[in-house]
């Protein structure tokens, strides 16, 4: 359902990825690790088609990067939930409206929006902060809003870029618990992370990005 065939991509002067191939099946849970600057975020951006490969082809659901029309990209993105590394919350509206926006975009009726947003807010533990503006939230709270927004329209795959970077270990575990639940109900998950502790506690298939390519898939026990 998600496949990358021999992807190469250059950003600025840097060859970020070189001949990368990857396949994620329906309902899989995959970790993506690798040093700072190794290209994890870039790989995720390729999947939600914010950048396009110089060579190779990205296939997501029925869309292919080499044939997709610009006006179809929004529809692809609605099927893919993204937790951005820098959150990307709309600074001009409150927590509730930020999350609701992802549903308004697909034209969901007001009542569905309300119940879905409130339920997902409860799940990430931010029900009481729903009328706050993002810039008044702590780093961890903002991250949880980002998670809630990615979940709210029940995507078939969730791309999580460092979703626990600003969370304390307890909350991080809670979030991972949440992600596993979602995964169990059929949503595939691709999660870029630096938190090896977490991988050890919740082991899944783990890909290592190194020198612009997947050097290997490793066993969680190997992690330093």
């Amino acid at each position: 359902m998600i496949e990358l065939f021999n992807i190469s991509i250059q950003l600025g002067k840097r060859q970020v990825l070189e001949q990368v191939s990857l396949k994620i099946n329906k309902g899989e849970f995959v970790y993506l690790i690798g040093q700072t600057g190794s290209g994890k975020t870039t790989l995720l951006r390729l999947i939600y088609m914010d950048v396009f490969p110089d060579r190779g082809n990205v296939i997501v659901d029925s869309y292919s990067s080499s044939t997709i029309l610009p006006r179809h990209v929004p529809f692809l993105r609605r099927k893919v939930g993204v937790i951005f590394q820098d959150f990307k919350l709309l600074p001009d509206r409150n927590v509730y409206d930020n999350i609701a926006f992802a549903l308004q975009v697909i034209g969901a009726p007001q009542r569905t929006i309300k119940s879905r947003v409130l339920s997902v807010l409860t799940r990430v533990g931010l029900h009481h902060k729903r009328y706050q503006m993002p810039q008044r939230l702590s780093g961890g709270e903002q991250q949880r809003v980002a998670i809630a927004r990615a979940l709210v329209n029940k995507p078939f795959i969730l791309l999580a870029d460092e979703p626990t970077g600003n969370l304390d270990p307890q909350v991080a575990r809670d979030i991972l618990h949440l992600l596993e639940n979602i995964n169990r109900s059929g949503t595939a998950i691709l999660m870029a992370t630096h938190n090896y502790d977490l991988i050890r506690q919740y082991p899944h298939r783990t890909l290592v990005l190194e020198n612009g390519n997947f050097s290997r898939e490793i066993n969680p026990e190997e992690l330093a």
Binding site: Y48, D50, P70, R71, V73, P74, F75, L76, R77, R78, V82, F84, K88, L89, L90, P91, D92, R93, F101, A102, Q104, V105, I106, G107, P109, R149
Partner: protein, 285 residues
Amino acid sequence: MRLLFLLKEGIAGFKRARLAATISIATITLSLSLIGMFALLVHHLSAQFQQTYGRIQLEVFIDPAIDSAQRQALEGRIQQLAAVEAVQYVSPEMTLQRFQQDFGDDLLTVLEGENPFPPSLQVILKKEYAELEKVEAAVEAIRALPQVDEVIFQEKFIRLINRYFFIGLIVATTIGATIFFISTMLIFNTIRLTIHSRKTVIEIMRLVGATHFFIKAPFVIEGLLQGLIGSLLASGALWLMSDLLRAFFLPGLTIPWMYFLFLCGTGILLGLLGSYFSIGKYLKF
């Protein structure tokens, strides 16, 4: 449902970017007031000018031996000409008086008590006959009538007035067009800047899967509303200003209601187009 949501979003835009919205509206208000005021003044002054100088008068000197019945018959014939608006009899005494008014009280002294003027008819031409050729045609027609001695009209004066009016109109149109052009640019620029200040928001919307239409619509609606509010404020300002001018300098000043219609139409159009084109740049795919 969907439309209602986009409309609400458009209105919410005001709250979300208050400074930007305020400044957009202010720009529209100020620019449109300027355009409106300028147009109004030019319109008023040129109308006044036309009223004062736009009707040509002819002096038709007639045979001093004419009797009253004949004179009235002549008046009737002149009145029937297509170019003529009104005819009035002027006795030699009245002519002398008019000369006195124009050339000072003491013309009589200069003329040593004599009145050299024959009786005459004052003929006022219709507004549409203010051009030189048409005047000349009318003069010929009257001259051809019996008992008409001579027809006099101020050819130089007509030329002069026509010329000044023409220059004035060109200058006013140039200034007006420049004001309009500049205002349009300023409004577009301001809207562009306000949308630029929200480019992060637009970028995030894109990434969350909003279609171009869905992103654009609220901005365009907001632009339209800004245009509407700005032009209503401008209409108010124009109304106030015209009231003041009427009270102090230009007693006859009135605003045709078309002005308000024009201001609102322009404001809405500029707000709409400005935001429509500005946002295009931030939407690649």
